[in-house]
Symmetry: C2
Subunit: 659 residues, 2 copies
């Protein structure tokens, strides 16, 4: 052996005898591995775990408890829980009534629907939901989206009845979709709405909703149906002579009042009820003011008559006829996914705070059922809104019983108190919406995204711009498209690194990240940080060839020992497909032609199996597949030093074969 | 220190002093890292490398050579090259003429267009192409696809002129798209057509084309316009009384002849010209037969009159008016991408064989220009067909001059020989198409896919079934969708592994793959094999929690030491986004609540930077971020053995702080 002109890593004790090679894993039956991947894809949380080794009666009970969590917690329910739940329930009811009316207006639906929707769905959720903190009701974004998507097919001013029926139908389909996603364990589809895209989307929608409220606040009678910034601004400034100062003063006053109470409650969490009660207080104050001053005769628009009585049944109103049903399906699916994402995220966040667990797929079934039943009882799209759930949480709710209390409060309102809302001015409702929406424009989250991940920020801003200047659905499509594009780009353009030896160790790391890592002379060690798939196979072939070119140029310039081998560290390659294997075969040919030995390190079992089946392991020789970079380097060095000065592969074939 | 009840890995010499931590990389200006990613995404092959440090005149020459590779190789052209190229050129011309006529019929275009398209485009490619082996011409699948997509807008039997003009327009847009992809370095879009999907797609299209030829072979006059198996079978078997045995006998005879010659040439590669000449021979034989027997009067359909003369200009024929232009754009883009993929793959494969390099983006510009110029000179969609290029390669072509020779041969045909094709029976053309198509049904590749990668096989079969039972575009969409879904699923459901120590080493590997790897008591070491993105953040939170649950159950059952720490090996995590960081924060909270220490190992610089900016490193403490699993295990063991028997984290906080 020639004298080593650089120090071997310290632990390399026996240079002549290269270390262990990577074994080829035993073949697995296809069905078994298929079932395993299916299980990991659809049942990652292993919901059947607790059913194992249980008697049938217990299995039945567990099954019922799975679909109706109320059976699980009801037996353990105590009086002290009940006290807390009543307080929380009344608090959220005082928020739910004015918000319900406001959001129904946002969806171009009769205000009474907002109250109906706060009665039946909370009762269903109390039986089926696994979150203890979620307060059920309608949401601003969902209402806006539903209203704008259905307006495309039917003008709510021309045919309000058909519009209403379409809203029920869309809610029905939303429920069907939500429940099916849960039942078929496809909840992960919701994960494709990234946090960043939701921040941008919500902010954009909130901006649009705020601008729309200028109609009521300025007391305008005519307003554009388009929901983009440009159309709305044009509509507002083209009729400056129609602006009514009475309305504007009232509106700004109430917005100010609502914002101040919220600020106060935020600073002193104990007084959460101040901001929770503020909307109802505004409604009462506004109604009294109108009633006393007869302002409704001076251009202040009011809600008018609300029908007394509980939800009428509406299953006969569902529209399944041709031109309308497709609109309803589309609107239902889009709004269903969006509101589902909000509901799931809300449930999960509060569960996280309190340290219990919610099951995403189970929640989907609960929310879906709630919407299906809702659509049959004159309710429209509901979910677990963040604002209302936060109030519920702050009010100290213990279980879903607070939803039942809220439903009872709404029921009493529906039965006896609706006439009180006759004089409620629309401008107060607008103020309630604006103050709620301002909280959704989460500029701090956007700044956080910019600081940590520029691409996420880009996704967020694209969604925002798409919603504000295009439309709500355009923004959504843009956000999902860019988010998915990012995943694809990650795979299409993986990063490749050159590894070097960390001095006095057997560790090899990226030389860019660890400046003290020194490349091994004559050996190029590469790492690829993604699976090798069709989408990146051509790129990687180019890139690896370029690494070799650059290394050879560098060596020539520095006058060092020629390049002898290329080590591919496969640790980070999770998987490979047939295009990836062809790519490796081509790289091996290129290496061959230049007299280089290709060496693999630590391929995973999946990769190893495929490489073996494709006879690639045979092509490079199993002796060239090592467990660690260190072993590979040692084997290459053995060849390099023993077989010097033959640079080509062919001449030193005999020597290599001795390794 | 308590007495160790298991052996430490052999190299752990100094237990009291944990090893190096991972440093936080210095911040990089955003613009710099952005430009770097942009370069890696769009210029992975670094085309400007040779321009560096060159005088301006040399730069100009290199630039011209970049766009016109002919300037590079023409000065080195020799007479011996020319001899080889003439032989190859004549051989491919003899194939190009009958194939051109046949494929033009497939696209519902006048047969003469096939000859036009073998004249101008090869001349353009000879100037601009970087492949030495590609023979330019029309392709069956492209022709079929173009014909079927345009038929949707215009019936070629009702308005053949408009149909022809639409074909030029579609070719024009295909060229624009191809050249733009190349110019804007977006060639990687073609990579999203995976090899597996192309095998299935080609096989399906070939099946459909073969079935369509039954029309000519059975001598049918009426035939369905639909291109799916069911419609075609119904059309054929609903008119059995119309079948003409003369036509069928002739057709089967020629198919047999063509297949036998191909089989012969495959067995004896020296006689490649036998199969190359067979189509022209068939045409001559068939024409003679019809001429002598006057079979055209007995139900054998013939080509009829072909116009003499070179390509007329067609730039005035391009259609840019409203209802048609969108069809042309769509057809152009779809067929442009498909044929581009074939051309690029063909160029690359032969370059691989001969050991030279083709530049994908440059090839796109060449193919695009060829189609733009072609569309202005009465040609329709051309690319580098595999069959013709293989003949060119086998015939010993040296440079793109063989394309020029072919173009001259076609020119002579156009000027003088077109009347000879008057009596050519359509059934011979059908036989030529069928025999070419049978070679495209690559069942061996499908078997290979099944053996190596079941998912690739699934993609392939889906594309095949989509094309055969749906339509060509449905098959294509299915194939691309499933291929992309696979990438998304890889990211959405990454695999997680438990690592164990390989005995007598400092190496930690997946315990499933290496059964001798032993888990470290009290420590759970996990590895995730994909980046952590929004699409998998929820899944990973569930999965990691489940690993911890299962490990604690196992420990309880076995009565071992309680779990103390969870080590996440981040080596394989290429990147992380804000959703991923939130997930880690939640996992850290979960670990905290259970009294477990979360330890990170070897995060990459990108990941480390983001974790630091998000203050996650601060949250777990930088002292808990190690370079190797070994170091992390040693630090955890130090705590475990020194701080026994305090299982909770809080009690042993002081001890941890000593690490």
């Amino acid at each position: 052996m020639g004298s080593a002109d650089y120090v071997y890593p310290s632990t390399a004790t026996n240079m002549e005898e290269p270390g262990p090679r990577v074994a080829i894993p035993p073949p697995q039956p296809f069905v078994k591995s298929f079932m395993y991947s299916l299980k990991e894809t659809l049942f990652p949380d292993d919901p059947f775990r607790q059913f194992k080794n249980q008697p049938p009666s217990r299995k039945l009970l567990l099954g019922l408890q799975f679909f109706f969590p109320v059976l699980e917690w009801a037996p353990r329910y105590t009086l002290s829980f009940f006290k807390s739940d009543v307080i929380a329930g009344i608090t959220i009811a005082s928020l739910a009534i004015p918000q319900g009316i406001s959001y129904a207006k946002l969806a171009n639906l009769p205000p009474i629907l907002g109250l109906y929707s706060s009665f039946v769905p909370p009762l269903i959720y109390a039986m089926m939901g696994s979150s203890r903190d979620m307060a059920v009701g309608t949401v601003a974004i969902g209402s806006l989206l539903l209203g704008s998507m259905l307006s495309g097919a039917v003008d709510p001013n021309v045919d309000p009845k058909l519009f209403l029926h379409l809203a029920f139908t869309a809610t029905f389909f939303a429920g069907i979709l939500q429940a099916s996603l849960g039942l078929f364990r496809l909840g992960f589809i919701v994960d494709f709405l990234s946090h960043a895209s939701i921040v941008g989307f919500m902010g954009g929608a909130a901006t649009v909703v705020c601008l729309q409220q200028l109609k009521s606040i300025l007391g305008l009678v005519h307003f554009t149906h388009d929901a983009d910034l440009v159309s709305m601004m044009r509509s507002i400034f083209s009729q400056t002579h129609e602006w009514r100062w009475e309305s504007a003063v009232l509106g700004c006053g109430f917005i100010f009042f609502l914002l101040v109470t919220r600020y106060f409650s935020k600073r002193r969490p104990k007084f959460f009820w101040v901001s929770a009660m503020a909307p109802l207080t505004s409604v009462i104050l506004g109604s009294l003011l109108v009633y006393l001053t007869h302002a409704e005769k001076h251009g202040i628009q009011v809600i008018g008559e609300l029908k007394k009585g509980l939800n009428p049944l509406s299953f006969k109103d569902l529209v399944f006829v041709s031109p309308y049903v497709s609109t309803a399906v589309k609107a239902g699916f889009v709004t269903g996914i969006i509101t589902l994402a909000e509901g799931i995220a809300v449930g999960r966040s509060f569960a996280m705070f309190k340290g219990y667990h919610t099951d995403g797929n189970k929640e989907m079934i609960a929310i879906g059922t709630m919407n299906i039943v809702g659509s049959l009882t004159s309710c429209y799209l509901t979910t677990g809104p963040f604002s209302r759930s936060a109030v519920n949480y702050n009010a100290g709710c213990k279980t879903a019983v607070s939803n039942i209390v809220m439903a009872i409060a709404v029921m009493i309102t529906l039965l006896f108190l609706t006439p009180l809302f006759y004089y409620t001015p629309l401008v107060v409702l607008a103020a309630i919406i604006v103050s709620a929406m301002l909280g959704l424009i989460d500029y701090q989250a956007a700044i956080h995204l910019w600081k940590i991940d520029k691409f996420d920020f880009f996704v967020c801003i694209s969604a925002y711009v798409g919603v504000v200047f295009g439309s709500v659905d355009i923004g959504l499509v843009i956000a999902v498209f860019i988010s998915v594009l990012r995943l694809l780009l990650f795979v299409a353009r993986p990063r490749t690194f050159v590894l070097g030896n960390i001095p006095n160790s057997v560790v090899y790391r990226n030389v860019e990240q660890y400046p003290n890592a020194t490349p091994v002379p004559g050996i190029l060690i590469l790492e690829i940080d993604s699976p090798i798939y069709f989408a990146n196979a051509s790129y990687l072939r180019e890139r690896i060839t370029r690494w070799i070119d650059e290394e050879e140029d560098r060596i020539k310039a520095a006058g060092e020992t020629g390049l002898q081998s290329v080590i591919l560290d496969m640790t980070t390659i999770g998987n490979i497909d047939t295009s990836g294997i062809s790519m490796l075969e081509e790289v091996n040919k290129i290496a061959d032609r230049r007299g280089l030995q290709l060496v693999l390190v630590n391929p995973g079992s999946e990769v190893m199996k495929k490489l073996n089946k494709a006879k690639f392991i045979e092509a490079i020789g199993q002796k060239w597949v090592f467990l660690t970079v260190e072993e590979a380097v040692r084997a290459c060095n053995y060849m390099l030093h023993t077989c010097k000065p033959n640079p080509g592969k062919d001449e030193s074939e005999a020597c290599w074969n001795n390794v």
